[in-house]
């Protein structure tokens, strides 16, 4: 460490120097930044695959990707990268790592070494996944449905499966770490009901990560064993049951949807309060609805399987339980809107993303209810309606929250400000482009166009062209966002400790925070949103 650094300038970024100090760091803030860099890199890759897919679909017939197999591989990598490397680690591991201990007034997470190990698990898992490219790639889609993935898929599939297995550990360990951190490292006076709602979101997420991810791990291991050793679990030709695989897979992958959205909802609570300078409406309702969603999320996996051949009674029960998840989700949305009432609202870029989230998530929510309805889903299942719905929730929800969160905590992370004008421009492109891309897909789905189609009938051409045009707008929006972030890091103006006037603990320490987060022990005497 450079001794010449004045005491006031000492922060976690200059605490140690050199690449090696980053790769071996135990500081949650630095690990958070490493997640940020990796997630942004993966997002760029996944985004390139998305644009390739949309370009192929700009017209019927073979296009830029040439044939069905290449298209299916692009589709598989887009899905696997975006799910396992971007949206799942995006908020908990990146924003959560940076913010959680600061939110709680702690020096670090409970297990700093485990925290670093989680990052390496993600990196190693990602490397294994990309190894599949040497072995002819993979074309199963991110869902690995059997028996296709066992007997028919291209030979790199087992690498993607093992990669996802290893990345799962990153998620489990992060979840474990956050649960223990939340229970044991809260500052004096930080009772559970004084915790920011982002912490509640992360905590609920962590429960799912710890309980559900091992099921995915076991399922993927069984799949690999079946593929490599010919042991029959899921392939009827070997005496297995392919529908069993779907039960196992969705037992994880449905709760995983909430791993993606619950922390995003937490971020939104922070943004809405900070930029309307108002206490949250219904703190307890929002906090408990996070836990409620997490609990019920374990019992709704079968709504992915209404037409799979699962028992019809199971379909009815799953439809009912899925409706129940709708209630706490609706409560949250109403609470956020109510928080705006009589607020003092500014449209800084993080707030634009938060409002964009509410707009898109509402549409994602109502179409989710349509899909939960048994007879409706029979028509919509595996059509573009589903594709549109989950992009509204995952991109319109989670990614909007990540973008808002990055802009919100950027001054805290780097002690600098980005260009507000550029950030707003990125919002305009992303938000507009998103609707242009995905709204037509609802219509395509209603018209019956199935998903995962390399080619399509003439009648679907027009809307697909609109959709493709929109995807380029999203691409431009994210490039502007990336430039804004890099430019802000390099040449941004110095940021004050609390540029937004927010009340949570992280804004009371320096920007960027010192290595130990706080130079004093924070004492908490009030809730997180005391705007009076």
């Amino acid at each position: 460490m450079a001794v010449t650094t004045p005491e006031s300038e000492h922060n976690y970024l200059n605490h140690e120097k050199g690449l090696w100090s980053w790769l071996t760091t135990l500081d949650h803030k630095r690990i958070g930044i490493m997640y940020m860099v990796s997630v942004m890199f993966f997002f760029l890759l996944g985004g390139i695959f998305a644009l390739l897919i949309r370009t192929e679909l700009a017209a019927p017939g073979p296009g830029i990707l040439g044939d069905g197999q290449t298209y299916n591989q692009a589709m598989t990598f887009h899905g696997a990268i975006m799910v396992f490397m971007v949206i799942i680690p995006g908020i908990p591991a990146f924003l959560g790592n940076f913010v959680l201990p600061l939110h709680l007034g702690a020096k670090d997470v409970a297990f700093p070494r485990l925290n670093l190990l989680s990052w390496y698990c993600l990196m190693v898992g990602a490397l294994i996944t990309f190894t599949s490219l040497i072995y002819n790639g993979s074309d199963t889609g991110w869902t690995f449905y059997t028996p296709y993935s066992i007997e028919h898929a291209s030979s790199g599939t087992v690498w993607v499966v093992l990669g996802a297995f290893v990345m799962g550990f990153s998620s489990i360990l992060t979840g474990l770490n956050f649960i223990v951190t939340t229970h044991t490292l809260r500052a004096p006076g930080m009772s559970f009901f004084r915790m920011p709602l982002f912490v509640w979101g992360l905590y609920s997420t962590a429960i799912i990560q710890v309980l559900a991810t091992p099921v995915l791990a076991i399922t993927l291991l069984l799949l690999a064993a079946e593929r490599l050793l010919g042991i029959g679990f899921f392939d009827p030709a070997l005496g297995g049951d392919p529908v069993l695989f779907q039960h196992f897979f969705w037992f994880y992958s449905h709760p995983a949807v909430y791993i993606m959205i619950l922390p995003a909802m937490g971020v939104i609570s922070e943004l809405i309060t900070a930029f309307s300078r108002k206490t949250i409406f219904g703190y307890r309702a929002i906090a408990f609805s996070s836990l409620g969603i997490a609990a019920v999320s374990f019992f709704v996996w079968g709504h992915h399987m209404y037409v799979s051949g699962q028992s019809e009674l199971a379909g009815v029960i799953f439809s009912f339980l899925t409706m129940l998840v709708g209630v706490p989700t609706a409560i949250k949305t109403f609470n956020w809107v109510a928080t705006l009432y009589k607020g003092s609202i500014v449209f800084q870029s993080p707030m634009l993303f938060a409002l964009g989230f509410l707009f898109l998530f509402t549409i994602g929510g109502v179409t989710g209810i349509m899909l939960a309805t048994l007879a409706m889903d029979v028509h919509f299942h595996d059509t573009y309606f589903v594709v549109a719905h989950f992009h509204y929730v995952m991109v319109g929800g989670t990614l909007m929250a990540i973008m808002g969160g990055i802009y919100y905590w950027f001054p805290k992370m780097f002690g600098k400000m980005y260009s507000e004008g550029m950030a707003r421009m990125s919002f305009v492109f992303i938000f507009t482009g998103f609707n242009v891309t995905f709204f037509p897909q609802f219509v395509l789905g209603a018209m019956g166009m199935p998903r995962r189609y390399f080619d399509y009938l003439e009648i679907y051409t027009h809307l697909n062209q609109v959709s493709t045009a929109g995807s380029y707008m999203i691409g431009i929006g994210f490039v502007i966002g990336l430039v804004t972030i890099i430019q802000g890091m390099m040449n941004g103006e110095k940021a004050s400790d609390n540029p937004w006037g927010a009340k949570t603990l992280e804004w009371q320490t320096a920007s960027p925070p010192p290595h130990e987060n706080f130079n004093y022990e924070p004492q908490v005497t009030a809730g997180p949103y005391e705007y009076r």
Binding site: S319, I331, F347, A375
Partner: protein
């Protein structure tokens, strides 16, 4: 007010972008869809409208604005939990009722076997007729599809009928419909099944009952009993190697075969029942009778329709 609501529903319905509704079930699904569309639009207008209204009305005026401290409101929170809950339950029940119609198979349905394979559909009619080109069914008659796959999971989707069912290897799944109008309808595969997934298209051809019967009439076995079907198949495919008396040709003669004790090359024994005859036609290497070469008989797997196979079994049973 009600009239306005009704107008709104019919408007939504007209713009629903759903394909033509070809069955009663499809019309029911469309009514539910219109309802969902209407409440969805209302919810979105309320939430997003409220959002925009508040955001504009309560814009920050001065740098040190004070805001009202409103922590919660029990009545309001109860209402906006309870009202969605009731709506969701209504929608759930409505969806369930229609789903029950979709899954209640009429007893008198015309049964057609569907085999999914990479990357086309294969249809087998009870008469023995077998096609891959298109599925032809009569109008106004309930049709039940009994489906399985010979490789990976496929899914049988008729958008105009709003029905879909995965077609899974190793088990039978089923669908039923009763087409209301003659015409040609699109069939898609909706479960990802590999390179040519998007080319696994099909056509459903709904024709009048007379037309259907004429079409089916090309059937070589029309009006024949099962044993007669078997006799016909036997004369075409089996007589090269097998006699109808008990004399050995290349393979054994079949008179008196049924219920006879068979001695196999590996020392085991079995009674020649229906399963044995079926296995011997489809998987002849499974049990080779003592004194015959191990590869003397070729497999007829995939070359016989189910009724041809049943016919053969029945015919062999009659040989005394």
């Amino acid at each position: 007010m009600l009239a306005l609501f009704y107008a709104f529903i019919s408007q939504a319905h007209g713009r629903s972008f759903m394909p033509i509704a070809g069955t009663k079930v499809a019309q029911k699904v469309d009514s539910l869809y219109s309802f969902l569309l209407v409440i969805s639009v209302i919810s979105c207008v309320l939430v997003i409208g409220g959002l925009i209204y508040f955001a504009l009305k309560y814009r920050r005026k001065t740098a040190d604005d004070k805001t009202a401290y409103i922590s919660h409101n029990n009545t309001l929170e109860f209402l906006w939990s309870f009202i969605p809950f009731v709506l969701f339950i209504v929608v759930f029940a409505w969806g369930w009722l229609i789903y029950r119609d979709m899954r209640s198979f009429p007893d008198d349905a015309l049964e057609i076997h569907v085999l999914g394979k990479k990357w086309n559909w294969d249809y087998q009619y009870k008469s023995g007729k077998r096609t891959t080109a298109e599925l032809t069914v009569p109008v106004g008659v309930p049709v039940k599809l009994i489906m399985t796959s010979q490789d990976v999971i496929h899914s049988f989707f008729i958008p105009s009928f709003r029905i879909k069912q995965d077609v899974v290897p190793g088990r039978y799944t089923a669908l039923w419909f009763e087409a209301e109008k003659q015409g040609r309808y699109q069939i898609f595969c909706t479960e990802y099944c590999g390179d040519q997934h998007s080319a696994m298209l099909g056509t459903l051809n709904v024709v009048s009952l007379e037309e259907y019967e004429t079409w089916l009439g090309d059937n070589p076995y029309k009006g024949l009993s099962l044993a007669e079907v078997g006799q016909k198949v036997f004369s075409q495919k089996c007589t090269v190697c097998h006699n109808v008396n008990d004399q050995r040709k290349v393979g054994p003669g079949f008179a008196g075969l049924y219920q006879k004790q068979r001695q196999f090359a590996d020392g085991s024994q079995a009674v020649a029942d229906e399963n044995y005859i079926r296995d011997s036609i489809l998987m002849p290497q499974k049990q080779v009778v003592e004194g015959y070469p191990p590869n003397g008989m070729i497999s007829f797997q995939g070359q016989l329709a189910e009724n041809e196979l049943l016919g053969l079994i029945e015919y062999i049973k009659t040989l005394k």
